[in-house]
């Protein structure tokens, strides 16, 4: 098993606030990894660093063995830097890709608060995500010289929607779908970019226990079918403990534990982080 995604000493600092501090983790091929932690622990910030939404203040992120994001504190930030390992990457070339470049490398994501294309129907939401693979330039696209490619994109969209059980809803407006279907559509849309690594940001948010159960089967299924590796942020412990191979726990921006679900459940620091330590005892 080889390492697919690796974070080394990633730190994200906004002004004086260190949201993620010295986070190192790795995701291996074919794994399902969960990133958990109390609210405000920096989980989504970490996601945003991986996907290029934020430029991390310090650290290196590698995908398939190649560095894709590298930064080190410099200029004014160097003086106010509050994280660790400030000089570790000082000699590395800074790499700061935009989110679309990350997606093109094979990392797709969903969002905590669902972000579908509001004005489009279900079909077009997925079809739009196929644009990433369009080879036609704008001229051949306008003059329909690339109709074969367009037909191919539509076929693949159909296939994907059928597999996801969304085909019956193809003409409905994406935002008028029931909540569970919206989540599913968002995942389908991410799959349309043909990722190797799928990042799920709280996929079970707002779901009842029954739906959560279905979701874990669903995540396993798409993982097998599309040969994916999954990294997810989740609060539902049933889901996390049920399907993850390994779990990382963040608290106040720092990693406090990592290991198999069983190890994590027994870890005192994790329990303290979630339940809080009573100070006056």
């Amino acid at each position: 098993m080889s390492t697919l995604l690796e974070l080394e000493h990633v730190t994200m600092q906004f002004g004086g606030v260190v949201a993620v501090n010295d986070l190192s983790l790795h995701v291996d091929d074919d794994e399902i990894i969960a990133l958990i932690g109390p609210n405000g622990a920096g989980k989504t910030t970490a996601f945003n660093c991986i996907t290029g939404v934020y430029e991390p203040t310090n650290g290196r992120i590698s995908f398939e063995g190649r560095p894709i994001i590298v930064n080190h504190p410099s200029g004014r930030m160097r003086k106010m830097y509050g994280g660790s390992e400030a000089d570790l990457f000082a000699d590395d070339r800074v790499i700061d890709p935009t989110p679309d470049q990350i997606t093109k490398l094979g990392i797709a994501r969903t969002f905590q608060n669902i972000r579908l294309f509001r004005s489009m129907n279900v079909f077009d939401n997925v079809l739009t995500a196929m644009h990433i693979r369009a080879k036609a330039n704008v001229f051949s696209s306008v003059f329909r010289l690339s109709w074969r490619e367009e037909r191919q994109m539509r076929r693949e969209t159909e296939k994907l929607l059928r597999e996801q059980g969304l085909w019956e809803h193809r003409d409905e407006k994406a935002t008028s779908l029931p909540y569970g279907f919206q989540r599913r559509l968002e995942i389908a849309r991410a799959l349309a970019t043909q990722p190797r690594l799928l990042l799920l940001d709280e996929p079970a948010a707002g779901m009842n226990p029954q739906e959560t159960l279905e979701l874990s089967a669903f995540i396993r299924e798409i993982k097998e079918r599309y040969g994916l590796t999954v990294l997810m942020i989740e609060h539902h412990m049933d889901l996390v403990m049920g399907i993850s191979d390994r779990v990382y726990v963040l608290d106040f921006g720092s990693l406090i534990a990592d290991g198999t679900p069983d190890e994590i459940q027994a870890d005192q620091r994790v329990i303290d982080a979630y339940l809080g330590v009573s100070e006056d005892v």
Binding site: F14, T44, N48, V53, F111
Partner: protein, 304 residues
């Protein structure tokens, strides 16, 4: 050197003076933007309307009545515009509000066009302001000297108002966080109205000073000063009052230096005046690219 200074003093003087006038307009932009995140495209036209009101009112009233009347009416105009054109769109997308602002600007210009019949109206000579004076050999009007001082006094008063009164505190709270201050029980509509009224008041003051210099008012005479004042507000860091004032002075001075290009740089040509307008916008684009937060603006991070 002394000769050069003598010849071109008038450009520097009018630069400072125009800068002060822009500053008074720019405060209206920057305060509204700070609170509503709206470019109030109609603000320049409110300023123009104040000029026209003065033209009409001064023909039937003495100055000690017409000046306060213009101030009051401009404040009412600002209040009405906000209530009619912006308040109903409070929860609409930002683009809609901006379109509404453009609509108001179009309406005010067309209304002015109708009432003036498209003719330039001669601005009355306000006795004290239009008196001629000699400074260092340059003939100018008293208004040129009065403007910077009046601007500074008004800005100090405004800053005191914002720092030390209850409504000022509410304004600062709202511009910091719209939603939260609403939850804290601040009457948001009152604060917004007040902001528009203050902005209009200052625009009216600016109109006395500006049109005394330019001597005539046309329906479009508000748009250029308005846009330039907006540029000043962006340059100073939108939302910041001292920023807007400093930005306005810098732009006023630069613009007049360019206007005097023929004599200052010794390059002849009649295009310097049109070019000074272009300069302002080129400057704007440069500022937006190099430092979009302006001199004193704060950076904001979008939440994903």
């Amino acid at each position: 050197m002394a000769d050069f200074f003598h010849q071109n003093l008038s450009y520097f003087l009018s630069g400072i003076s125009v800068g002060g006038q822009y500053a008074l307009i720019a405060i209206g932009y920057t305060m509204v933007y700070g609170i509503l995140r709206l470019i109030n495209f109609a603000h320049g036209d409110v300023f123009m309307c104040a000029g026209l009101m003065m033209v009409y009112l001064s023909s039937s009233f003495p100055f000690f009545i017409s000046i306060p009347l213009v101030l009051a009416m401009t404040v009412v105009l600002g209040f009405v515009i906000e209530r009619v054109a912006y308040k109903p769109l409070r929860s609409a997308p930002r683009m809609s509000v901006m379109i509404s602002a453009i609509g108001v600007s179009y309406l005010l210009q067309n209304a002015a066009l109708y009432f003036t019949g498209g003719l330039a109206k001669v601005y009355p000579e306000i006795p004290v302001l239009s008196r001629s004076v000699q400074i260092g050999g340059a003939a100018t009007r008293l208004v040129t000297l009065v403007t910077p001082f009046l601007t500074v006094i008004l800005v100090v008063l405004l800053t005191l108002l914002i720092k030390h009164t209850k409504i000022g505190m509410a304004m600062r709270a709202v511009s910091r966080d719209f939603e939260t201050s609403q939850l804290m029980g601040i009457r948001i509509n009152k604060v917004i109205s007040m902001t528009f009224m203050l902005g209009s008041l200052l625009a009216a003051v600016a109109s006395f000073l500006y049109f005394t210099n330019y001597a005539s008012v046309t329906p479009t005479s508000g748009s250029m000063p308005g846009l330039k004042a907006f540029v000043a507000a962006v340059f100073g860091g939108i939302g910041s009052i001292p920023g807007a004032v400093i930005g306005a002075f810098i732009i006023g001075i630069c613009e007049n230096i360019i206007k005097g290009g023929a004599s200052i740089f010794g390059i002849p040509g009649s295009g310097w005046t049109t070019f000074s307008d272009a300069f302002t916008f080129a400057f704007l684009i440069v500022v937006l690219i190099v430092k979009p937060t302006g001199l004193f603006g704060e950076k904001s991070v979008d939440k994903v």
